[in-house]
């Protein structure tokens, strides 16, 4: 084998091995991390779930500062932890929006539960005859959802911390026959007449319209603790997970179909080089995927659209090069010389075209919000990867298959 063919072969094999290996290893790692649920992080629109933007308001006793926002975020995170959501994202925004917190809960099927768990203040008060006797953080040692031991209806089991437990025992002993109630954010969740001393600090919220879902919400709120300041809902987005699954299926189908047709088209127009460009395009998809997994990106619909656009540009680079090679061959150059000249003379156009796209994408990423950013990220990765595959990889592949005797027919041109 000639030396340049050998170099080309090694280049192609190396790229394929590194890309394939990276995708395999990262995908396997993620499958382990998510208990076999997914190998790629999907956005809310593709797998369903709830996305909220909340704004921290001023406290009762003063303005909110960065610490208030952080404490609020931490409390939300603790609450969500006890819901068992896979990969929730709870982030503070920056700049002008420093008071805002975005919460993404993939796979969550109940919007109401998400709104309650994240947005409720969570102030727990014990009242005797309507007068507050115990309140604030530190009352509870434990809060778990479950079923009442009395009537087997959904309930939240509360366990007071040891200090409050003693206080509670004294109060119940001295006030038999009086009315005791528990309020959450000023709303009574349970109440009744004290019939006996409660020595172990155990109480239960049950009855009324409490379902197992609301019991889970209340337990989560109590475990995460009180939000230091009230929050306001600024943006709410909810997608039913079954609908999300539909969307990701149809987008994948669109991607696969579009890809197949592009391959057929390229081969029909450019024959052998078209086939090589097709190979390069498959490797290109692998590289984009690998980089995307490496930066721990979240794939959304907008991201898929960005990918399709950059695929168009990857094909474009090859089209520009192949047309140029044909021109050079028509001008009488040998196939090797034509390929050399074709790649060399196309570079300026390809670089200028891609550079402006990258400028646009970077500006989009910088100024845009969530969805626009998703589009920009795949576009940037895609354009960079396409420069590599369309220029370096296709060239290696072409070097591998050409031999000096090949004429212009090889490029699908008539003359």
């Amino acid at each position: 084998m000639e030396r340049n063919k050998l170099v080309s072969l090694v280049t192609v094999l190396l790229v394929v091995a590194i890309t394939g290996g990276a995708i395999f290893l990262m995908g396997r790692q993620r499958l382990e991390d998510t208990d076999g649920k997914s190998w790629l992080r999907l956005g809310m629109d593709l797998q369903g779930g709830v996305m909220l933007v909340l704004e921290v308001q001023d406290k009762k006793d003063g303005a909110a500062d960065a610490q208030t926002v952080e404490d609020t975020r931490a409390a939300m995170e603790k609450r969500i932890d006890s819901l068992g959501v896979t990969e929730p994202v709870i982030e503070k925004l920056s700049g002008d929006n420093w008071r805002r917190i975005t919460v993404s809960l993939p796979g969550v099927t109940s919007l109401q539960q998400a709104l309650d768990v994240v947005g409720k203040q969570g102030l727990l008060e014990f009242k005797l005859n309507g007068r507050t006797i115990m309140s604030g953080p530190g009352i509870l040692a434990k809060a778990t959802p479950g079923y009442s031991s009395r009537d087997n209806k959904p309930a939240v089991q509360l366990e007071l911390s040891s200090e409050y437990s003693r206080q509670f025992a004294t109060i119940t002993r001295n006030n038999i026959g009086e009315i005791i109630s528990i309020e959450l954010d000023g709303q009574e969740v349970v109440g009744g007449v004290i019939s006996t001393e409660i020595p172990d600090g155990k109480a239960e919220i049950s009855g009324g319209d409490i379902t197992i879902e609301s019991a889970t919400s209340i337990a989560a709120i109590l475990r995460g603790g009180v939000l230091p300041a009230p929050v306001e809902h600024k943006e709410t987005r909810f997608v039913d997970p079954t609908l999300g699954a539909d969307m990701s299926r149809s987008s994948m189908l669109a991607g696969a179909f579009g890809f197949a047709v592009i391959l057929v088209y390229m081969i029909a127009i450019y024959r052998v080089p078209g086939l090589m460009a097709g190979f390069a395009l498959i490797i290109y998809t692998g590289i984009v995927l690998a980089v995307f997994m490496l930066i721990k990106g979240t794939l959304s619909l907008a991201g898929i659209a960005g990918f399709i656009l950059s695929t168009g540009m990857a094909v474009d680079a090859n089209v520009i090069i192949f047309e140029r090679i044909k021109d050079e061959m028509r001008a009488g150059k040998s196939i090797r010389a034509a390929i050399d000249a074709g790649f060399r003379k196309s570079m300026a156009a390809i670089i200028d075209g891609n550079a402006t796209t990258i400028i646009t994408a970077i500006i989009l990423f910088y100024f845009g919000s969530g969805r626009v950013q998703g589009f920009a990220v795949t576009l940037i990765i895609g354009v960079l990867a396409s420069m590599f595959t369309a220029v370096i990889l296709t060239r290696s592949l072409l070097t591998l298959v050409v031999s000096p005797g090949m004429g212009i027919k090889f490029f699908g041109a008539r003359r």
Binding site: L111, K234, R237, Y265, V315
Partner: protein, 296 residues
């Protein structure tokens, strides 16, 4: 394209472009755009009904005594599937959303809520600002890059055709009544990238042919440059269209808005780069008395 002259027929293309862009701008001023909740704020439900229903029945059903103080107004109903509809009402909190769903379930039975988008008024106006800002800044960035890599005429013309493209796309949205949402913004930005990319490919060839030693005048050279890039433009446009059409055919409703914007942007971008950008450059170059070819 042998024998066809883009330069000789350029006045037709200028007229067509000007008419379409001005038409778009006029439509925008007269009719306004059908702004989605991403811009106007509000609440959008994505509902599946147990059977086929009338859009007007949905509007009637949501206005009950229980929802009277929510000021729902008439709402906007759009059919998106056999039994699927989107319902748009002014911004609602969680309780308001529940109340609307309860009213619908009272009337139609098992109405399933597949999705909710709720955007607060302040977020809406911020998005508008960000959208306009990013298009402006992107244009400036591109202007600077082209001026640096080519000459200032190319830069100014690229951005000018881009502005025409933006107005043509807006015009298409006004005429078709398509909703302007964040998908539209992404589509518009795609137009920006694609239109500029196409224009640059042609300018690149003009830049190269300027240096060639052929005996031809500026008009012939411009025509030749555009002609030489025709095969490439056709193939690239077709392959990009394949991707977009696949998305449109297989994609869900949300993605259709986006593909519509892409499609219009793509067509406008190709048209402007072939028929308008090159001839404009020719005219400007001629006007400034540099018809004699000179290597930059």
């Amino acid at each position: 394209m042998k024998g066809f002259s883009f330069i000789k027929t350029r006045k037709i293309w200028y007229a067509v472009t000007l008419a379409l862009a001005l038409g778009g701008a006029a439509g925008l001023l007269l009719n306004g755009m059908n702004l989605g909740i991403d811009f106007t704020s509000g609440t959008l439900f994505w509902l599946e009904f147990p059977g086929a229903v009338d859009a007007s029945a949905i509007t009637e059903a949501i206005n009950t005594p229980a929802t009277a103080d929510l000021n729902l107004g008439k709402g906007m109903v759009q059919k998106i599937g056999d039994r699927e509809y989107t319902l748009r009402v002014p911004s609602l909190d969680a309780e308001g959303q529940e109340a609307v769903l309860a009213a619908l379930r009272d009337k139609f039975g098992d109405v399933q809520n597949h999705g909710i988008d709720q955007v607060d008024p302040r977020i809406g106006s911020e998005l508008t600002k960000v959208a306009i800002e990013s298009v402006l800044i992107a244009s400036l960035g591109i202007l600077a890059y082209i001026a640096l890599r080519f000459e200032y005429r190319f830069a100014v013309i690229s951005v000018a055709t881009l502005v025409a493209g933006v107005f043509m796309t807006i015009g298409a949205f006004v005429v078709s009544g398509q909703e302007i949402n964040s998908a539209f913004v992404a589509g518009m930005l795609t137009l920006v990238g694609y239109c500029i990319n196409n224009t640059i490919i042609i300018f690149d060839r003009i830049r190269e042919n300027l240096k060639s030693a052929r005996k031809e005048d500026l008009a012939e050279m411009t025509d030749r440059s555009i002609g030489e890039m025709m095969a490439r433009t056709v193939h690239t446009t077709i392959t990009t269209l394949i991707g977009v059409v696949a998305l449109y055919v297989f994609g869900s409703t949300t993605i259709r808005d986006f593909t519509f914007a892409l499609l219009i942007g793509l067509i406008a971008g190709v048209y402007l780069s072939i028929f308008v950008a090159g001839p404009l450059w020719y005219d400007w170059r001629k006007l400034s008395g540099t018809e004699k070819r000179r290597v930059k």
